[in-house]
């Protein structure tokens, strides 16, 4: 206890409990007042519409959760807040599109792309890896395999091609960003790295413009799902029930995006719990120097975190691109996911998920209750965020900071 001290106040005395009780009582009162104020707006709506908005909010929140997850992963590993995430979404979506939407990839581009991806993966821990002949062999075999997969012709392979090419491409992008922009800044002030992500965003903006132009690109990824027999939309008929509305409809896009978010969430929870890299990543996030001193390869872990984040960004980009289209407007979505990140707590994976859902829910409900005022995207999530931060300064699930002196 003497080596460091904690600011948090011991939580056992009666006086302290009383203060806590008063605090929660006040919060409860405020909540009741708020609900009473809200009630007339709610009463004006049919119950079915409210239920619909609530469900839709949760579904839309899935996309926010995906975006927030990607931002949280990087923050967890390195403390850097990634402003480039929106453009990584766009870039990931476009790389996916490039492989998904062509009839066949020509040999040379497929080979160059594979070689780049494999090179980034093989040199994960630095250029020295290239001296290891074993890795060179693995790299060569990997390049050949990947080239082969990417060259599979026709529409039957389009999803496989898209996901392999898009996924690995996005991961390589994340690795490249980390290697060339973030790694040189190790040991420098944290905010320099945060600004670097801003620069990365601008460069990705330029590169996507350069290769794909400004054209909005439709991403027919959900058509594939329709082709394999999934219904285009889910609808509920509540005309004669308490719902009092004739049709409640949810798009396949939204449902799939939500399922993707849930799967990503489960995958990462498992990853952090049970894999070595995941455990190492948690340790690194706790204390970089300490982690290094016990033999964890901090560089590898940071690189992996960026690769995962880019992968998540690509998934979010594909989901959003499928629902609307791939365009320079897409990165704007990340801005509106920021509250989701903070709401849950910067370091919490579960928090990012819950934060995303909460933001989606709040947006849809306020859109329903207060039409025409733009309350939904610009105001409500940030008001909720402010309130949560005042009540819980570290977000809903954030780690309570222990301050040492």
């Amino acid at each position: 206890m003497s080596s460091f001290a904690q600011t948090q106040n011991p939580a056992s005395s009666a006086a302290f409990d009383a203060r806590r009780a008063i605090k929660w009582f006040l919060i409860a009162v405020a909540l009741v007042v708020f609900l009473i104020w809200l009630a007339p707006y709610g009463m004006a709506q049919k119950p079915g519409r409210l239920v619909e908005s609530a469900i839709r909010g949760v579904l839309v929140g899935g996309v926010y959760a995906l975006v927030a997850l990607g931002i949280v992963i990087i923050n967890k590993a390195s403390g850097v807040f990634n402003f480039a995430h929106g453009y990584m979404m766009l870039a990931g979506g476009l790389i996916f599109h490039a492989f998904f939407s062509v009839a066949q990839v020509a040999l040379i581009p497929a080979f160059l792309f594979s070689a780049f991806v494999v090179f980034m993966l093989v040199t994960l821990n630095g250029w020295r890896m290239l001296r290891d002949p074993r890795r060179l062999v693995i790299g060569a075999v990997g390049t050949a395999l990947l080239t082969g997969v990417l060259m599979l012709p026709g529409q039957d392979w389009q999803l496989i091609r898209g996901f392999v090419g898009g996924g690995l491409g996005a991961a390589a992008l994340g690795l490249a960003v980390e290697r060339f922009t973030i790694r040189p800044l190790i040991g420098q002030p944290l905010f320099t790295a945060v600004m670097m992500t801003l620069a990365v965003g601008e460069v990705l903006h330029g590169l996507t413009q350069m290769v794909w132009g400004s054209v909005e690109i439709p991403l027919p990824v959900f058509d594939v799902l329709k082709r394999i027999g999934l219904p285009e939309r889910l609808s509920i008929d509540g005309a004669d029930t308490w719902l009092d509305v004739s049709r409640i409809v949810f798009n396949l896009e939204l449902v799939v995006a939500f399922v993707l978010a849930v799967l990503a969430f489960i995958a990462f929870v498992l990853f952090f719990r049970f894999t070595n890299v995941g455990l190492a990543m948690r340790a690194t996030a706790e204390n970089q120097q300490l982690a290094q001193s016990v033999g964890l390869r901090v560089r590898v872990i940071l690189a992996v975190a960026w690769a995962i984040a880019a992968l998540l960004a690509a998934v979010a980009g594909i989901a959003q691109g499928g629902a609307t289209s791939l365009s320079q407007n897409l990165p704007g979505l990340a801005f509106y996911a920021f509250p989701a990140v903070l709401l849950g707590g910067l370091e919490s994976i579960g928090g990012a998920f819950v934060g995303g859902i909460v933001v989606g829910f709040v947006q849809e409900m306020s859109r329903r209750l207060f039409p025409g005022l733009q309350v939904d995207t610009e105001l409500a999530p940030y008001l909720v965020l402010m309130l949560v931060l005042v009540i819980r300064p570290d977000g809903l699930f954030g780690q309570k900071r222990i301050e040492r002196i």
């Binding site: 600004m195 460069v203 990705l204 509250p339 105001l379 965020l385 931060l389």
Partner: protein, 370 residues
């Protein structure tokens, strides 16, 4: 940092010499020279006897834009650079200054000279309000609370206060008028903005080196230790929010009266992030940081890159024949800015002002390299 090194043979004999900003005759000459040169620029840009102006006319406008943003970033430097509270809502505070100044002038016929301090103080109060979460919230969470200001303030201006802000439509701002001189022309506005920018930069410098500033830097470096020295941390954080918002308010108000026409697009969230980028690039926590940062970014995006684009545009498409030329053109602006920023951050991660201090030291101790 450089303050302890001066050319050998120069000694301070009194404490007031020691704390003076310009301690040698040379330093004094350079400082006054720069000031004089700045004040002369509009005259130099006028057309001379042979129809030639010594400096390009657009330079006046560029310097005004830089000076207005320097005021704003000086405020951000007090809050973020010295006190360590990273703000992502600075542009919103500029909006408050701009719109309150415009409102006072339009609605109540306030003159520019009255509207400027009033709107600045009002912005300060708003800043104080958004500084309240700093009682409990720290670090990036606080940044996000300030980002909330960046959304809540423009929303409030756009919808509930539509009668003041003209909503999503632009708002005309009357031209400032002083003793019958119309300040519409850049040349005259220059003589309001530049002295103000200098005075406010000097004030920020003075704040940073006296009691208040030391308290703020203590909070940035170690807020717990600061408290144990009797510094009321929360009070100083609020003061920092206040004064930073006052600076933003002044900058916003100047911007409104300079462009004579404002809209909420001027104060988008992106702008807040850019202001922060300017500070980091210039060197957060250095008195000269804001000047370096703003000048670097503005000159880069508004002068250097546009000058480079045409030649690159004529060269690149032939080098990259598989890309559509129009795509290449559209890509150049963000690409060049991003790359310049990247290279710069890798070469000098602590900011231009830091590099400047090092250069100054090596100049003073020349010809020795240590």
């Amino acid at each position: 940092m450089s303050s302890n090194i001066r050319p050998s043979g120069v000694f301070d004999t009194t404490y007031s010499d020691d704390i003076a900003l310009n301690r040698t005759r040379g330093e004094k000459a350079v400082s006054y020279g720069i000031v004089a040169l700045l004040l002369l620029i509009p005259l130099l840009s006028l057309e001379g006897p042979f129809g030639i102006s010594l400096v390009p006319q657009s330079l006046v406008g560029t310097i005004i834009r830089i000076a207005i943003l320097v005021i704003s970033v000086q405020g951000l430097n007090i809050l973020t650079g010295y006190t360590g509270q990273v703000s992502l809502g600075h542009a919103a505070f500029m909006a408050v200054g701009a719109y309150s100044g415009a409102y006072l002038a339009r609605q109540f016929g306030f003159s520019f000279w009255l509207a400027l301090p009033t709107s600045a103080l009002f912005t300060g109060v708003i800043g104080l309000l958004f500084g309240l979460p700093s009682l409990r919230v720290k670090g990036f969470y606080l940044s996000m609370a300030t980002l909330a200001a960046q959304f809540i303030i423009p929303w409030t201006l756009r919808y509930p206060l539509e009668h003041i802000s003209n909503g999503s439509r632009p708002l005309d701002v009357p031209v400032p008028d002083l003793f019958g001189i119309n300040f519409g022309a850049d040349g005259a506005m220059y003589y309001i903005v530049i002295p103000l920018a200098m005075a406010l930069s000097l004030a920020a410098r003075n704040i940073s080196r006296t009691r208040t500033g030391r308290a703020m830097i203590s909070i940035r470096d170690n807020d717990l230790a600061a408290e144990l020295l009797g510094i009321n941390v929360f009070s100083y954080k609020l003061q920092a929010f206040f004064v930073s918002a006052v600076y933003a308010g002044i900058a916003g108000c100047l911007m409104a009266f300079h462009t004579n026409n404002i809209s909420l697009e001027f104060f988008a969230p992106q702008v807040s992030i850019e202001l922060l980028a300017m500070l980091i690039i210039g060197g957060a926590g250095f008195p000269l940081g804001p000047m370096f940062g703003v000048a670097f970014v503005i000159l880069l995006t508004q002068n250097v890159i546009p000058a480079l684009v045409p030649s690159l545009y004529s060269a690149l498409p032939s080098l990259l024949p598989f890309l559509a030329p129009v795509n290449v053109f559209a890509a150049l602006n963000p690409l060049l800015f991003g790359l310049a920023l990247m290279i710069f951050l890798i070469v000098e991660p602590r900011g231009l002002a830091y590099r400047w201090e090092i250069l100054k030291i090596s100049w003073k101790i020349r010809p020795f390299s240590y």
